[in-house]
Amino acid sequence: MDSTIKKQLEMTAVNVRMGIIEGTFNAKSGHPGGSLSIADLLTYLYSVKMNVNPADPDMKERDRLVLSKGHTAPALYSVLAEKGFFPKEELKSLRHIGALLQGHPCIHIPGVDMSSGSLGQGISVACGMALAGKIDNADYKVYTILGDGECEEGQVWEAAMFAAHYQLDNLVAIVDNNGLQIDGKITEVCSPEPITDKFAAFGWHVITMDAHDFDSIEKAFDEAEKISGKPVAIIQKSVKGKGVSFMEDKVSWHGTAPNKEQYDQAMAELSARLEELKK
């Protein structure tokens, strides 16, 4: 990847992370851990990959994204705000009464392609969108992001079977493999592993990538682009809470908002990172 583009993406990703912290801090609730682990992925998709238009969010030929792991809405909202779908100010009223930004993604928010949050459902909806694209011979791609814990839901595998059967090669499912879910490590709760082997067995083309390295991300999506006749699953090896030192790889940050002190520390760390990148 071109180093200037890479630096730009890294800076955007820091801003996205600041938005996540801003949102969850002001909401006094929400899910920062899994939001931070997909910040780089969403930054890449919305900055580089996806054909979307903030001035026309429902544009027919747009690429679609269904955040199947809907609890990480703060990451999606932060990226959409960064992209200009709505003012960044909205992040401060996340989860408040009367706010635009609901606790989980809602289809009525500009740029949000589907309401989601009940795990296992988004991937099926993404299959339906991809199927519609096939019926219409449309060029758009459909992306869906799942949690690794989410792969414990049976519906994920019903959808995996469907996507392969209908050869939905316009569908890319990214599994955020940060290894943690509410009750602990995914391997200790009720292991969905090996996730890569499972998707391969279901007839998907499987790619693994480093979720926090834009070169690796680019490589994975370039490979995905070349696949035909099969849906693509990208298993991203990620760190829950990535980018905020005290949140990294800590299950306790799955669904806890930072308090004022933690907010200040997180923002200071992210600001420092941004300054470093600007050098």
């Binding site: 809602c106 309401s115 299959c127 339906g128 219409d136 519906q155 019903e158 959808a159 469907f162």
Partner: protein, 316 residues
């Protein structure tokens, strides 16, 4: 008297899909390995490129339907009522109801008249489940003519619709040439002053027959067909409550949460009159021929007559 023609509403559902598809290229049909039984096979044969079998995976099917609707299609997702409304309830609620997507759910084999397959497949709870989802339209056609008209109306309506069809062939009593269907509008089939029988689905014909028998015994019964259970036609029900003072409801569904509940809720809030509910009581069904089961569970004109007489005696 001419022979009564009997057609299952699921047959008319399949026919309607096939007919509408010719003029509506947005129409696509999904099934979950039951196309032969739900009769979506009629559509599949004519339009294989717009038919998608999801396999035995109803939860996924509802999600796929949501995605299709979000991309401009008008999907009909079909399965037995037990699986469409029961198994897939939460997907219907969250992926179709909450985003208010233009998905039509074609649920067949509803009620006790599934027959021999027994309790696991006799869905007497689907209307109750679907009624709780905000914005969900629920239509339970009374005969083949109404079923076809309902499918057409569902295609024209923008938003989620749950259509309930039966397995059993039942008498056609509406005249296709003159029949008019409007979502949310009940139909008065017979006037009466002593009592009103409000029926839905295959119980409508039984109610009409029961009213004739009651008439002979000196009880003037009004008969109303409520094909749309949600949104329910409050006007026609409240008018009946005011004018006849007593309501009997008749449905092939649990007395909990279905038509009887909807009618009782309506009158309780605005014009309280006694409401006697005929339906499947708080119990499961069992195997047997559909016609015998309907009699056994009191879903027949004889029971409507008996319950109505009892109610008239008690309340009038």
């Amino acid at each position: 008297m001419a022979d009564v023609i009997k057609i299952a509403t699921r047959e008319s559902y399949g026919e309607a899909l096939k007919e509408i598809a010719a003029e509506c290229d947005k129409l696509v049909v999904l099934d979950a390995d039951l196309a032969e039984a739900t009769k979506t096979v009629k559509f599949k044969k004519e339009y294989p490129e717009r038919f998608f079998d999801c396999g035995i995976a109803e939860a996924d099917m509802m999600g796929v339907a949501a995605g299709l609707a979000a991309s401009g299609k008008i999907p009909f997702a079909s399965s037995f009522a037990m699986f469409a409304a029961g198994r897939a309830f939460e997907i219907v609620r969250n992926s179709i109801g909450y985003p208010h997507l233009n998905v039509k759910i074609g649920a067949t084999h509803a009620g006790i008249s599934v027959g021999e397959d027994g309790a696991t497949h006799q869905c007497n709870e689907d209307i109750a489940l679907m009624r709780t989802i905000p914005g969900m339209v629920i239509i339970n056609p009374a005969d083949g003519v109404e079923a076809k008209a309902a499918v057409k109306a569902a295609v024209e309506y923008v938003g989620p619709v749950y259509l309930r069809f039966g397995r059993l062939a039942t008498p056609i009593f509406n005249d296709e040439a003159t029949y008019k269907f409007e979502i949310g509008k009940g139909i008065q089939l017979k006037d009466g002053k002593d009592v009103t029988i409000v029926a839905t689905g295959l119980m409508v014909n039984e109610a009409v027959e029961a009213a004739k028998l009651l008439e002979a015994d000196g009880i003037s019964a009004r008969v109303i067909n409520i094909h749309t259970i949600k949104p329910i036609d409050k006007d026609i029900i409240l008018k009946a409550a005011k004018e006849t003072g007593l309501i009997i409801t008749a449905e092939e569904h649990s007395i909990i949460g279905g038509l009887g509940s909807a009618v009782a809720e309506t009158v309780a809030e605005e014009c309280p009159v006694p409401v006697v509910r005929i339906g499947v009581n708080d119990e499961f069904g069992h195997s047997g021929p559909a016609a015998d089961l309907l009699k056994e569970f009191g879903l027949c004109k004889e029971n409507i007559v008996a319950k109505t007489k009892e109610a008239v005696k008690k309340f009038k």
